[in-house]
């Protein structure tokens, strides 16, 4: 993630590395959404949002980003609030910390998959600050909460110069580290609808360490009974770290909806997920390994979810 030793474009004769401290910038504490939009419009790339800071501060120290203004949005109304409505579902302020989210009774009761995914991120002390909103906005292909958001059909609620916009998470990512936010627009809430009755979810992350590393592969599976499906069940599958963005894999989902759920069907669905993966080689793992792990971990997550569904049913 932080860049390795690289050349400075302005002075290629020196090795540029992360400095001892943060570069200078101005901190602005925003109190109204419009103020944020104005600052973003006014300063363009020179202004960035500060939520948990766990990504932006690292990128700034690394010299990847050099905003002149950081806009702290944690004090905007609702940004650090979690609300739950049994009909409408969960609304997470974009700046709610992962630990706050994980510990929230409604999340524990109704969205354990979100908690499972968030707990796969880095360390507890980092998650005191890190936010799911930031995780989605950074649009890292390896974002751990993204596959969970995808299978839960979460929606990004943004605020911008033209008011509110609702973007399904599946349409929020544009490419590696790129989202679809427009100039002046920022993420305000994440809405997570009530999952289908009887659902079971699982997030499996493979890293180099047993915990805390960035994902080599991440697989989220959500399954639920559905009388309208030929198989009697539907599964949603999403992957991290195997494509330019976190992705759903409809081909595999279709297999599971259309054929009776047997070991053989699960065995067919996993390669379909593998086929959808377009990973790259990086320091954490090769594309070849990622492909194979996409298959094996999809299968493992499907097995776990199917076992859970049978237990429930």
């Amino acid at each position: 993630m932080p860049m390795p030793a690289a050349l400075d474009r302005e002075n290629p004769s020196v090795l540029v590395m992360p400095g001892p401290g943060l570069p200078a910038f101005d901190y602005v504490r925003a109190s109204k959404p419009d103020e944020v939009c104005d600052l973003l419009l006014q300063h363009g790339d020179n202004a960035r949002l500060l939520m948990g800071g766990t990504d932006i501060l690292v990128l700034m120290r690394d010299g990847v980003l050099a905003p002149k203004i950081l806009i702290d949005v944690k004090h905007l109304p609702g940004m650090t609030t979690i609300s739950f409505d049994p009909a409408g579902g969960l609304r997470l302020g974009a700046a709610v910390s992962m630990n706050t989210m994980t510990a929230h009774p409604a999340v524990k009761q109704h969205y354990p998959l979100l908690a499972e995914a968030a707990q796969a991120v880095a360390s507890y002390q980092l998650r005191t600050r890190a936010t799911m909103g930031g995780n989605l906005c950074n649009a890292s292909p390896a974002a751990d909460t993204a596959p969970a958001a995808l299978v839960l059909n979460a929606r990004c609620v943004t605020w911008g110069p033209d008011g509110e916009r609702i973007i399904p998470v599946g349409a929020f990512f544009r490419g590696p580290k790129q989202n679809v936010l427009m100039p002046g627009e920022f993420l305000a809430f994440i809405d997570v609808p009530i999952p289908p009755p009887g659902w079971v979810g699982r997030y499996i992350k493979l890293g180099r360490n047993a915990g805390g590393d960035l994902a080599i592969v991440g697989v989220a599976v959500l399954g639920y009974p559905d009388a309208n499906a030929a198989s009697g069940c539907r599964f949603r599958i999403a992957l991290a770290s195997v494509a330019p963005t976190p992705i759903r894999v409809p081909e595999a989902e279709a297999i599971l909806a259309n054929m009776p759920i047997t070991g053989e069907t699960l065995e067919r669905a996993a390669p379909a997920a593998q086929a959808a993966a377009r990973p790259i080689d990086d320091l954490r793992g090769s594309a070849r390994y990622r492909k194979a792990m996409t298959r094996n971990l999809t299968r493992r997550a499907l097995d776990d979810v199917w076992a859970g569904l049978r237990k429930e049913g």
């Binding site: 390795p4 030793a5 002075n11 004769s13 020196v14 401290g21 180099r208 805390g212 080599i216």
Partner: protein, 782 residues
């Protein structure tokens, strides 16, 4: 054994689990590390301009833009450092002069009023380079037509046991020629040959390197730094600057992890040169974590080509091995890693015919240097795997094979020297038993496979033959004792062990003894370096000598006072006692004020201060052609680790269920601390086995952060570590003790590799054993 007289009555602190003397201040946040020292507003900060090329000629350095930046005080370059520096081979300038040899090589230093300004100014220094062809592989570098990194190699000052080959990139070649290897192959019924690779790894002390230097206007230099080697630093820097050792004072508070990276001199000299440019100002230079990964020392990379053979009864006959060390841009310290791995090249085995070449090859990679194990983890990676392969070839049990061939007291080892008494067979048996060796046990899930493997090791302190230690023991009025040492507390428990030894030798309760930092070359007694697991043994001997010296002064005083023979007197639990007259006298006050003569005729005695030194005197040279000699090292510590693990065949992930680690430490002065060293070494060894290795692309390190370079965290550790202490005494160790700090990391990686092979039949010859490698090998095996 230099065992001081200990009493039958009073409990001795030797062999007791005395609490660490530094534990309290380290848990309250009061323990001071170098970056915690306060220097006031006069403090300036330094940052370093580093070369972006693996190999380049420096044509010009233009600092004018940097100097124009407000807050910048001065810029130093190689022109400010004419002398060369190095521990065994003086092959580096403190700042590069005409040539830079690795990505990160320091070209200039900027001194400014803040770290941020210094950093900003570094980016304004313009350096004109002529990029040269690099050497990025030791096999390539050892070829006669390789680009030459050090054309002046023949002019460098070098220790008399290091053999550079001028006109090549080989800065040391250690040869072993023992017996007749070529003839021996014919006697062998089984022969195995393999090539093994070990990447560069980094020590990763949690405290990055830091140095604060100040030069006064009369040339006196003070250096505050996190150091394993205040005295060696003083000496090397003084030599490089052409000044007296007494003109440099090195002060080192607690060290936040060293593992070898803070031995010798690396970045500390940069701070000194910068400080000389701004006399009167302390200049602080602290490395970022990113710099830490590749600009101090790294563990050298290794390519090992090894062939071994045995007769069908399982007796080893011959070994031919070539070690090509990817030693980096400067090998001033690393040359001795190649020597140590030459004279220990067989591992702890008795092999009659040996042909070994250990080549230290300059490459345009980071500077290789000492790291925990000093070459032994790297060579044992191959040795212990090829022994398993040979045992398989012979159809022998691997424990039986090792018991048959391992060194014992009286064995003739690779250098032709005779082995001292050693408990290696006992270590092997105990470690194997602890994991139920020979018993197949079920894996925890159908897709997992379980396997057991083991590896044995040896390691000797690698150092000049005359590395010395000294200590002093001073009494305070209340009979508490201040023990001064020059050995550093780097977490290994050196101060605690010193306190135990002083207490036992003096006859006072251990909680009367104080051992404190910071080390200060102006006041602390000399110690060569805190390296090589040598303190318990070498510094320990000095402490005992100092304590005996003080004890003698006290007993002489009491003998005179009571008019008794000194032989009848003893010190027990802080009291001088006479076994004859059964008189006793508390130490309090008498150890400072002395004792009154009868009838008010004056006093005798006075402040008690004991001093003691230790230096080995018996290590001989080795023949440069054959590597043979009567005594190659002071001693070897040996041990065995057995690993029981399981492999997830669907991911390649490995889980260590238990590790049994048995070491012959001679005598465990503090068994709890020995076990703590074993646990730490096992986990550091497992971390290198699973995760670690610097990745280079065209000489540029790619993973210089904790995000990209992973080390073991609390969730990665074995479920169980069984530490086993074996005690076959060392003849010249205090109470028979020898060191164990480094050793527990040596066999961990090959033991894991052997267990993985046992579990799934996959043999990984290049470290690390990543889940990916295991999985892909399994897939290919299908």
């Amino acid at each position: 054994m230099s065992t001081p007289p200990t009493s039958q009555q009073a409990p001795s602190p030797i062999g007791e689990n005395v609490r660490r003397v530094d534990a309290l201040e380290k848990t309250t946040g009061e323990a001071l590390f170098a970056d915690d020292l306060q220097f006031g507003p006069n403090l300036l900060y330094g940052r370093i301009v580093r070369c972006p090329h693996p190999h380049a000629r420096i044509l010009n350095v233009d600092a004018s833009r940097a100097l124009a930046l407000p807050g910048v005080k001065a810029v130093v370059t190689g022109q400010d450092t004419p002398g060369t520096i190095g521990l065994y081979l003086q092959d580096r300038h403190i700042f590069c002069r005409d040539r830079a040899r690795y990505v990160g090589d320091p070209v200039a230093g900027v001194i400014a009023t803040s770290e941020a300004i210094a950093e900003q100014a570094c980016r304004l220094v313009e350096v004109e380079y002529e990029v040269l062809d690099p050497v990025l592989d030791p096999l390539q570098g050892a070829q006669p037509d390789a680009p030459l990194l050090h054309p002046d190699l023949e002019d460098y000052e070098v220790a008399n046991f290091i053999f550079p080959k001028p006109g090549t990139n080989i800065s040391n070649h250690f040869r072993v020629r023992k017996g007749d290897v070529e003839a021996a192959w014919a006697q062998c019924d089984a022969v195995v040959e393999r090539e093994f690779r070990v990447p560069h790894v980094q020590h990763v002390p949690i405290e990055p390197h830091i140095a604060i230097a100040q030069a006064d206007r009369h040339g006196q230099i003070t250096l505050w730094t996190s150091s394993q080697s205040p005295f060696a630093q003083r000496s090397l820097i003084a030599d490089a600057l052409g000044i007296s050792q007494s003109s440099i004072r090195v002060i080192s508070p607690y060290v936040g992890g060293g593992f070898g990276s803070k031995a010798g001199v690396s970045m500390e000299a940069l701070a000194v040169i910068m400080a000389q440019k701004v006399p009167g100002h302390p200049v602080k230079l602290r490395l970022t974590r990113e710099e830490e990964f590749f600009t101090t020392f790294v563990r050298q990379g290794l390519i090992a080509k090894t062939r071994i053979g045995a007769t069908k009864d399982g007796k080893l006959q011959a070994m031919k091995t070539e070690y090509y060390w990817d030693a980096g841009a400067y090998t001033e310290y690393g040359v001795n890693v190649t020597r140590a791995t030459g004279y220990s090249s067989t591992g702890p085995y008795e092999i009659p015919h040996v042909h070994a070449d250990s080549y230290c090859v300059y490459t345009n990679h980071p500077v290789g240097g000492p790291m925990r194990g000093f070459g032994m983890p790297e060579i044992h990676w191959g040795i212990e795997q090829i022994m398993d392969l040979l045992a398989e070839e012979l159809g022998m049990d691997k424990v039986e094979f090792r018991l048959k061939n391992c060194v014992r007291g009286g064995s003739i080892i690779v250098t032709g020297s005779e082995m001292h008494p050693v408990g290696l067979p006992e270590c092997i048996q105990k470690a194997a038993d602890a994991v139920n060796w020979g018993t197949d046990e079920p894996a925890s899930a159908p897709h997992k496979r379980r396997g057991k493997g083991l590896a044995i090791m040896w390691k000797a302190p690698a150092m000049p033959p005359n590395a010395g230690s000294s200590a002093s023991v001073r009494f305070n009025e209340d009979a508490t004792v201040t023990v001064s040492v020059g050995g550093q507390e780097i977490g290994q428990g050196a101060f605690t062990v010193a306190a135990q030894m002083a207490a036992a030798a003096l006859g006072v309760p251990v909680d009367w003894v104080r051992v404190h930092g910071p080390l200060d070359t102006r006041y602390s007694p000399y110690e060569w370096q805190t390296v090589a697991s040598r303190l318990t043994w070498s510094m320990g001997n000095a402490v005992v000598a100092a304590a005996n010296n003080a004890r003698r002064q006290i007993l002489e005083l009491a003998a005179e006072h009571w008019d008794e023979a000194i032989e009848n007197l003893d010190i027990q639990d802080g009291m001088v006692i006479s076994y004859k007259s059964e008189q006793s006298l508390p130490l309090q006050n008498m150890v400072v004020y002395g004792l009154p003569k009868p009838d008010d005729q004056g006093w005798r005695g006075g402040p008690v201060i004991g001093h003691g030194s230790f230096m080995p005197t018996y290590v001989t040279g080795l023949d440069p052609e054959t590597g043979q000699g009567p005594r190659s090292v002071v001693h070897y510590t040996t041990g065995c680790q057995a690993v029981d693990l399981e492999v997830d065949t669907l991911t390649g992930q490995i889980t260590i269920l238990r590790v049994a680690a048995a070491y012959d430490v001679g005598k465990a002065i503090n068994p709890d601390q020995v076990r703590a060293q074993i646990e730490g070494g096992v986990v550091q060894g497992a971390s290198t086995a699973f995760f670690e290795g610097l990745a280079f692309k065209d000489g540029v390190p790619q993973n210089t952060s904790f995000v990209d370079y992973r080390i073991a965290t609390s969730v990665d550790i074995p479920y169980e570590i069984i530490s086993i202490i074996v005690e076959v005494p060392q003849d010249d160790g205090p109470w028979g003790a020898r060191g164990v700090g480094e050793h527990s990391m040596v066999p961990t990686a090959p033991a894991i590799a052997n267990a993985v092979a046992a579990a799934v039949g996959v043999r990984i010859l290049d470290m690390p054993i990543t889940a990916e490698k295991v999985y892909l090998a399994l897939e290919e095996g299908e």
